[in-house]
């Protein structure tokens, strides 16, 4: 990766509008708004580095969206399109880093969800969602399959209502993967489910981080329970999500262990909160974590060059997003298109914020639009002083709202370093495997 050259700004004097970088192919330019990527001949790159006025003005002459692109400096006017239901407030595992306190959120979620609360939320979503885009109903907790009766009832109800309304309804579930029985697997196969299984590495790593209350190996339970679904996913799509906690920051061994179970999509997330937790990464960890991420990514890029798919989903998603030119002033849909419904029926902007008053924006009878706009305005990346002047502002978008307090120069350098690697890799991979970025060949009904 070549030397970083930042262009001058137009709104915020410190906010770069473009950035030069290099790959094995030569020089490239990232135009920050709307994530436009160009190849640049060496002379033009040199002119930009020199600050040649005509070269710079050619770039800065047009930073506006083209038709069809959503301006980055406005509050989006989108309605709820996906929700998650906290169907359970209990869990059979006791992971040290769990943000949900095993589903109880430190007492904020004292009861399990009832059918009437779940149905009201689904009805509300289907009433207000756009018909031209799919809606997603997610199940979360606690461990959702400890309340499988409610989960199954919601799926059948929402699918039937969606069919009547001609609304494409999809589902997602985040599960520890230890409790799936044959009926659960049948349900997941029968509907368009995105199944995210929390699995942290090979057996010892996993069991160390995710102990079961009964003392048995939760890794063995995952293998037994999820294996049949991986072998025949039906309409579902199954991915692994691994949490990386101190002091074990190595990724390749974890990855290998998870891939051996049969997962083809494997993503990692480091522990960042709560601050001061012995499991959360500290400043000195981030360069190490970046090196681990890049080493694993290089393995997968080698596979991709050989014609295979990339299984490391942090990388695969970043590359696809760069290809699309994804750019957003928000890291997620919290409070915009996405809400998480607590067991008491409150609509929170985020599933990690159950019980936090500032995230409570309404209930199934309606949202408080004023609170919602204020919530979104406060979280727009332009509203955050260190983020608004970062070149990665529309790619990282400030990161998870719940983890904002853990942001540090070191952790942000990790994000920038990772994006740098992804930008370079994208340019190189598009040259050797352009087909990797082709759309899926056939739309499925």
């Amino acid at each position: 990766v070549g030397a970083e050259v930042l262009g001058p700004a137009h709104d915020d004097a410190a906010a770069p509008l473009w950035r030069l970088f290099e790959s094995r192919l030569g020089h490239h330019l990232l135009v920050v708004p709307y994530t436009r990527l160009f190849d640049v001949p060496a002379d033009a790159a040199a002119a930009l580095r020199r600050g040649d006025a005509s070269a710079v003005s050619a770039i800065e002459a047009g930073l506006e969206p083209v038709p069809g692109e959503v301006p980055l400096d406005v509050l989006p006017d989108v309605g709820p399109q996906s929700i998650s239901l906290n169907v359970s407030n209990v869990c059979n595992l006791s992971c040290g880093y769990c943000f949900a306190g095993r589903g109880r959120f430190g007492g904020a979620q004292a009861s399990t969800m009832t059918w009437s609360i779940a149905r009201a939320a689904v009805d509300r979503l289907l009433d207000v969602a756009s018909r031209s885009n799919p809606v997603t109903i997610g199940f979360i907790g606690g461990e959702p399959f400890t309340n499988r009766a409610l989960l199954g009832r919601v799926v059948e109800y929402a699918a039937a209502r969606g069919a009547a309304l001609r609304q494409d309804v999809r589902f997602s579930v985040t599960t520890n993967g230890t409790l799936l029985g044959p009926d659960d697997v049948s349900l997941l196969r029968a509907y368009p489910f995105a199944v995210t299984v929390s699995v942290d590495g090979e057996r010892a790593q996993h069991d160390g981080q995710r102990p079961s209350a009964s003392g048995t190996s939760s890794f063995d339970e995952v293998c037994r329970s999820v294996g049949p679904l991986l072998a025949d996913p039906g309409r579902s799509r199954v991915a692994a999500r691994a949490t990386v906690a101190r002091p074990h920051l190595e990724l390749r061994r974890r990855f290998k262990g998870i891939a051996a179970i049969g997962f083809q999509e494997i993503g990692f997330a480091p522990v960042r909160t709560p601050l001061g937790s012995p499991l959360a990464l500290v400043a000195d960890d981030w360069p190490h974590y970046l090196a681990e991420s890049i080493a694993l990514a290089r393995d997968e890029v080698t596979r991709a060059v050989g014609g295979e798919q990339i299984r490391f989903s942090n990388l695969a998603i970043a590359l696809k997003q760069l290809h699309r030119g994804a750019s957003s002033p928000y890291p997620c849909g919290a409070g915009g298109g996405y809400f998480s419904i607590a067991s008491d029926g409150t609509w929170y902007a985020c599933h990690r914020a159950i019980g936090q008053d500032s995230y409570a924006l309404g209930d199934s009878s309606g949202l408080d639009d004023q609170r919602r706009r204020a919530f979104q305005a406060a979280r727009h990346v332009h509203a955050h002083a260190p983020c608004r002047s970062c070149w990665a502002r529309y790619l990282c978008s400030g990161g998870c709202h719940q983890e904002a307090a853990s942001r540090s120069i070191a952790s942000c350098d990790f994000v920038r370093g990772w994006l740098d690697f992804c930008l370079t890799t994208y340019c190189e991979l598009t040259s050797v495997r352009p087909d990797y970025f082709a759309d899926s060949p056939r739309a499925r009904p």
Binding site: H10, D11, Y34, A44, E64, N133, R166, A443, R444
Partner: protein, 567 residues
């Protein structure tokens, strides 16, 4: 600030970069599928019937005729992995089993779904065309089924063919959407699928087809290739399929009175189709296409650019006034020969088409100005120019509506002439907007306005040719230039009403242009409806009352704009 450069070479790599910088050179914007004009001149961009080929999950069908739709392929792997009921998968398997059996076809017998506005839930294809209470034909029936609607198909094997298995199956599924979630044509359509049934030059129907049933780069008439080096007076549209080709052959004129039988006959087109030239920007290309350089002195800075764009919008508005005044002055005199009526009718139609083009330009120029304003709101440019750009070193010409006299028609030709007047104004704007980089789409927008100008120039020359044999008194109304005063009674009232209606339209356009499309679509639509349903009848009444059509307002927001001084 220095003038923007277009020397910075940027090659787009990802989707958003391509979106901003790349339009395929030579193709007008109208050749994008979403802007295509379907089964009309200038030709098909695709055969719209093919959009229905994948209306039903896991099937590809062909519409053979008004009552017959056959299965051409089955995506059996897709059906088997979609979690369908065993009975449904079995039905797909039955059809798929016959796909390799020569001569066996599965036909759709009946469709149960909804076909708004027709009430019947079930139609049998063989009954189509028999009454007004059902779709007229199979293609229409498929097209009427709303996206995502439930469909039950009954399919039957070709009569008389036995290859084992049931001869009749039933399938249920949802009507598939045409577009994906991003609004692009769904990925299920394969390259070439939408154009596969268009006429091809090596087929007889290409020679015979009277409805321009071929792709838009194969028009009926075109300007001869520059490499033929024809004299300027012969550089006029010629039949594209002419038999006499190559160096030394003088391309015959393609006017309505042109010589007969100049085109290749059926046998010849089969044999010589490869001699037909590609046509880009209305001209045959015998050599690889290279975009023509437009000579224009760049403007000094963005402020000058915006001033010139505001004036350009004013010029568009001014020529709309001039062309409409001229349009409504046309009327074949009672008792005039039939040739007068037909020539006036076609002149009217072309003048109207040109005027609508200028209206689109007005919006395009405003889009470009809005594109210059990255974050700030802009005030749309809707002030009519007081003067038109100068022609040939003369002073700018004051805007004065008039009838379509021979002199006025000549000024219209002068106004639209390439490289001078309006075209010269746009050439400077174009030279200021870089062809590559983030402003490339603004550059393209201006280029397409200029391409239209060249078409308007040619068309006005045709109008001149059509009207030349006739005495102006035979096709022009006698009109008082006006404006009417109170003493003119009813005419004054109509004139006043035109003024208020026109002002309402300008305000609607101002609101629309401020936000652009699609947000401004309702206001643009309101202005369009107001123009066609209110303003046009008023204009006809005003000329019937003996006065020239004028659009005038005293609202200071729409006061006239003077040409900018030469920077």
């Amino acid at each position: 600030m220095p003038a923007p450069t277009n020397e910075l070479k940027l090659l787009p790599r990802n989707a958003t970069a391509v979106r901003q910088t790349m339009l395929v050179t030579g193709n007008p914007v109208s050749t994008r599928l979403e802007a295509g004009v379907g089964n009309c001149f200038p030709g098909l961009e695709c055969d719209l019937r093919n959009l229905e080929r994948r209306f039903f999950p896991f099937l590809t069908v062909d519409v053979l005729d008004d009552q017959d739709v056959v299965v051409v392929s089955v995506d059996l792997a897709g059906a088997q992995s979609a979690g369908l009921s065993p009975a449904l998968v079995g039905a797909y398997e039955t059809i798929a089993a016959d796909q390799t059996t020569r001569g066996v076809l599965w036909h759709i017998d009946s469709i149960t779904s909804s076909f708004p506005p027709f009430p019947q839930p079930t139609i049998r294809l063989r009954d189509l065309g028999a009454g007004t209470d059902r779709p007229s034909d199979a293609w229409t029936a498929l097209r009427l089924i709303p996206e995502n609607a439930d469909i039950t198909l009954v399919l039957v094997r070709s009569p008389g063919r036995r290859s084992g298995g049931p001869a009749r199956v039933q399938l249920s599924g949802r009507r598939l959407p045409y577009l994906d979630a991003n609004g692009a044509l769904a990925a299920m359509f394969e390259p070439g699928e939408l154009t596969q049934s268009l006429c091809s030059p090596w087929t007889h129907d290409f020679r015979d087809c009277g409805c321009f049933y071929w792709a838009s780069n194969h028009p009926d008439i075109a300007l001869p290739a520059a490499s033929l080096s024809v004299p300027a007076e012969l550089d006029v549209p010629t039949p594209w399929e002419r038999a006499a080709r190559g160096a030394g052959a003088i391309p015959p004129s393609a006017t309505s009175d042109g010589p007969p039988n100049v085109e290749m006959d059926h046998y010849e087109i089969n044999r010589r189709w490869q001699e037909l030239d590609f046509v880009v920007e209305g001209r045959e290309r015998a050599t690889p296409y290279a975009e023509a350089e437009v000579a224009g002195r760049p403007l000094a800075d963005d402020a000058q650019l915006e001033l010139h764009l505001q004036y350009a919008a004013g010029v568009e508005l001014a020529v709309i006034h001039l062309y409409l005044a001229a349009l409504f002055s046309l009327q074949a005199r009672a008792g005039a020969p039939a040739s007068v009526s037909s020539d006036v009718a076609v002149a009217e139609a072309e003048l109207r088409r040109i005027t609508f083009g200028e209206m689109r330009h007005l919006r395009a120029v405003n889009d470009v100005i809005r594109g210059l304003h990255r974050t700030t709101r802009f005030i749309p440019a809707l002030r009519v120019a007081s003067h038109l750009p100068p022609i040939g070193g003369k002073l700018p010409r004051a805007v004065r509506p008039d009838r379509l006299t021979r002199e006025v028609l000549q000024t219209f030709i002068d106004i639209e002439q390439p490289s001078v007047s309006v075209d010269g104004l746009y050439a400077r704007i174009l030279a200021t907007l870089p062809a590559l980089g983030p402003r490339a789409h603004l550059h393209e927008r201006i280029r397409s306005i200029m391409a239209d100008g060249a078409d308007h120039f040619r068309t006005f020359r045709f109008i001149q040719e059509w009207l030349a044999p006739h005495e102006p008194a035979q096709y022009l109304r006698t009109l008082n230039p006006g404006p009417p005063t109170k003493a003119d009674g009813a005419a004054f009232q109509i004139y006043s009403k035109i003024g208020t209606t026109y002002l309402t339209m300008l305000r609607a356009l101002r609101d629309a242009y401020a936000v652009g499309l699609p947000a401004g679509a309702p206001e643009i639509n309101a202005a369009r409806v107001g123009m066609l349903e209110e303003l046009e009848p008023l204009c006809l009444r005003l000329v019937a009352a003996g006065f020239l059509v004028r659009f005038e307002t005293t609202d200071p927001d729409f006061a006239s704009i003077d040409p900018p001084s030469d920077p």
